[in-house]
Symmetry: C2
Subunit: 468 residues, 2 copies
């Protein structure tokens, strides 16, 4: 379903409108980011009085640019934006990202300017993303329309797409590059004057590089289309949604942030459940839950195995498992026999390996044997493992171990890492994520992510069974 969003993510030529000042020029920021992020297409800065920027020729206007322009990025004062977008549309540019703010979220004049943009989109067919957005990025081709320079050089290519209505989730604000899970594309649809959540759902449903989509929605602009597009999407791929504005204060804040009318939260809750979307409630879950959905095979059932190195973590994890709809797996007699032959203490769930491994000469080999027994056990549908990162030396050993287990046994597995030093747990997480293991800084999120994946798997089985 090509709804014109290709031009946003796969343009061959990008025109950039905005300040080219050496200090803080946002247009210059975009031009520089496109170069540093490795974008291979043509970049054409447009500015009324400059000749050159960062070694590139600057055009006075869009019609000076030779050849086809696929995407215009506009970061100019709000009052100038409609004129620029109109000119682009007249010159055949099919898509524009309007990064500028002070539109409907700000005041009446901004509202009027935003209506002008909508009018231009309707009249000319140009697709507009924004206004009031940080824009778009595509890790695979190096396309970036974001003017901020920090945080983008270490992103890894992978299966997670993020769509937001804020820059808070973008890589200049979050340590996405210090983690190692892979991202396909990101977009901030801002005030959604034209491109909205349904367009994005349709685009990513068909995007072969995207395995899971996480959406931050401050509202839904077209309920009917959203339900249709979301249902089509979730029949193929998991959809994670962070929808704030659950409370009156949140709703009011949302209005002045993106001019969103948040509406009744119960209606949203029901709608999300109906279409099989996974609703998260915190920003942490927004980044962390998709990792499992992108990495893991779909769960065959809801029976979870929890393995820790500390009983105190296991008890809390078991609570979370039950509260998010999982069941604790009961091991078969055969598996229990194999485990208790290793140690008589190995029989429970949660299973605390701490005391057992502490006494062994080669704890890693035994740990791998135990985890392999557990993951091969038919009564276990999914599992969470706790990993202690006290020192850096075993990081590689453990990463390799999990990779072997992942290749042998196709079940959803999450890992949480803990230890006395932040740099050590961060490095352990990163190494495991490089091997495609979804890794968490806390047991609670590691278990909750499994619960959400299992709920989605149940939805998929239901719709496949009923053929709806």
């Amino acid at each position: 379903m090509n709804n014109g969003l290709d031009s946003f993510f796969e343009p061959g030529c990008v025109a950039v409108y905005g300040s080219l000042n050496e200090w803080g020029g946002l247009g210059r920021g975009v031009v520089q980011n496109l170069s540093e992020f490795g974008y291979g297409g043509r970049v054409c800065p447009v500015h009324p009085s400059r000749d050159q920027v960062l070694g590139l020729k600057v055009s006075r206007s869009i019609d000076e640019i030779e050849g086809r322009v696929d995407l215009a990025v506009v970061i100019t004062p709000a009052r100038t934006v409609p004129g620029i977008v109109d000119e682009c549309a007249r010159c055949g540019v099919p898509a524009a990202v309007v990064v500028s703010e002070s539109f409907a979220e700000a005041d009446l004049e901004g509202e009027r300017l935003q209506r002008e943009l909508v009018e231009i989109a309707r009249r000319t067919g140009v697709r507009i993303m924004g206004p009031n957005t940080v824009g778009v990025l595509n890790v695979a081709n190096g396309l970036i329309t974001i003017p901020y320079l920090l945080g983008y050089n270490s992103l890894r290519s992978g299966g997670i797409a993020y769509c937001t209505q804020t820059g808070f989730a973008a890589a200049q604000c979050q340590p996405l590059g210090d983690r190692a899970f892979g991202i396909s594309k990101m977009c901030d649809i801002g005030n959604k004057c034209d491109v909205n959540e349904a367009d994005v759902l349709d685009y990513f449903a068909d995007d072969p590089g995207t395995i899971v989509l996480a959406m931050h929605l401050e509202d839904v602009r077209d309920g009917r289309r959203f339900l249709e597009s979301a249902r089509r999407f979730t029949a193929r791929k998991p959809l994670v949604i962070l929808k704030p504005g659950r409370t009156e204060a949140g709703a009011r804040a949302s209005m002045s942030h993106t001019a969103s009318m948040t509406g009744n939260d119960e209606c949203y809750e029901n709608a999300f459940r109906q279409v099989g979307a996974i609703r998260v409630r915190t920003w942490l879950e927004f980044w962390d839950v998709p990792k499992l959905l992108a990495a893991a095979p779909i769960a065959a059932g809801d029976r979870v195995m929890i393995v820790t190195h500390s009983g105190g973590a296991g008890v809390v994890a078991a609570d979370v498992a039950m509260e998010c709809g999982l069941k604790m797996a009961t091991l078969s007699a055969a598996a229990r026999e194999r485990l208790t032959s290793i140690s008589p203490r190995l029989w429970g769930n949660p299973l605390d390996l701490g005391p057992v491994l502490a006494t062994l000469d080669d704890p890693f080999a035994t740990q791998e044997e135990i985890m392999s027994i557990l993951l091969q056990e038919p009564s276990v549908d999914c599992a969470t493992f706790g990993i202690y990162a006290g020192i850096l030396s075993p990081v590689q050993v453990l990463a390799d171990m999990f990779e072997r287990l992942k290749d042998k046994v196709a079940k959803p597995v999450t890992v949480y890492v803990y230890g006395p030093r932040l740099f050590s747990t961060a490095e352990m997480c990163r190494q495991l994520e490089l091997k495609g293991i979804p890794t968490y800084f806390d047991a609670e999120t590691a278990v909750r992510a499994l619960g959400m994946a299992v709920n989605y798997a149940r939805y998929r089985r239901e719709i496949e069974a009923t053929g709806i």
Copy 2:
């Protein structure tokens, strides 16, 4: 109320029973930790066949030690523990930490051995902490009975006491030293064969170095005494409780972890509310919520101001504020006038500083002015500020700014820090915490901590008003 717990935290002489092997000897670990942690009292290792360890004379038995022994630390096989504790008691040692495991949490034989310990405590008056514990530490005097070596050297002295029934919360497992909030004392009361939660509450209620106590409880052994001690405690200081076993699976796990009978969760919930305890639900909150309670003046009311550098964070924070019982503060006309004279965009709550500060030459001075206006505003009882840690250079500037504000305006304030690099956010958190500012890695916890502090303040006002 001296209930004999002084000997656990302020002993002048510690006897250590356990393996003194160079590799992995847990008794040796304790001796080494005592030395590295700076304990100034006497340390007397006891071992049947060694003469020296780490430069210290080893005694063959407790009666060989000259002078008074205040605390015995026992890390020997379970079957040997009752004999050792009995001998210590007969020699007048008033307190023993039994680190050894395989007692009531393990099997029938362990249960029998634990009953022997209880019997010894009753008969001789020796107080026993554990068994199945990592023990005790006192940051102020360097006392530590924990055999693990990692994580203890960088703890800072301060007002938070932690009491758990697991080693998972201790510094070998959690990055307590990479943060900079101060800890007074920690203890793991394990299987609670003698010293239980009520003893600990009584002790810390009277401990002048402790401002707030966070307790991880797998069960309550003596409900009546707990209610009494908790009520007395919360009339003086805030009490944070993590009580897992909310679900059937959690309860079962708790039984095999610390032999705890978790009981009906609703009863606990009601009891905690009755005594004004603050119930948290995750390990993250267990470490993070006490920071605010230790640092902040008590809130005068429930009206919160939320200041961000990103609208997307503000909306989610407003939801959390409402959901945890806070009200959004409405600024007075005078405050609004002062703010809008800085920028016409400064009027809302949540207040998004991002777009305003981005255009200024000296954003820090303006930020301080804005925050100062907000904190002096009578309609604001408490506040959360978001801080962007993109690069390291402004860390010191911001830490100093918050220190000045804290000294000028005695209201509870939490800060959350975000940014593209983990090392940068970690360093920002640490520097702010060094100034006594409670700092968080996410907006949601920063707001929730305020909600909990405000609820506790309300409880305190109620009991003070009714004089109960």
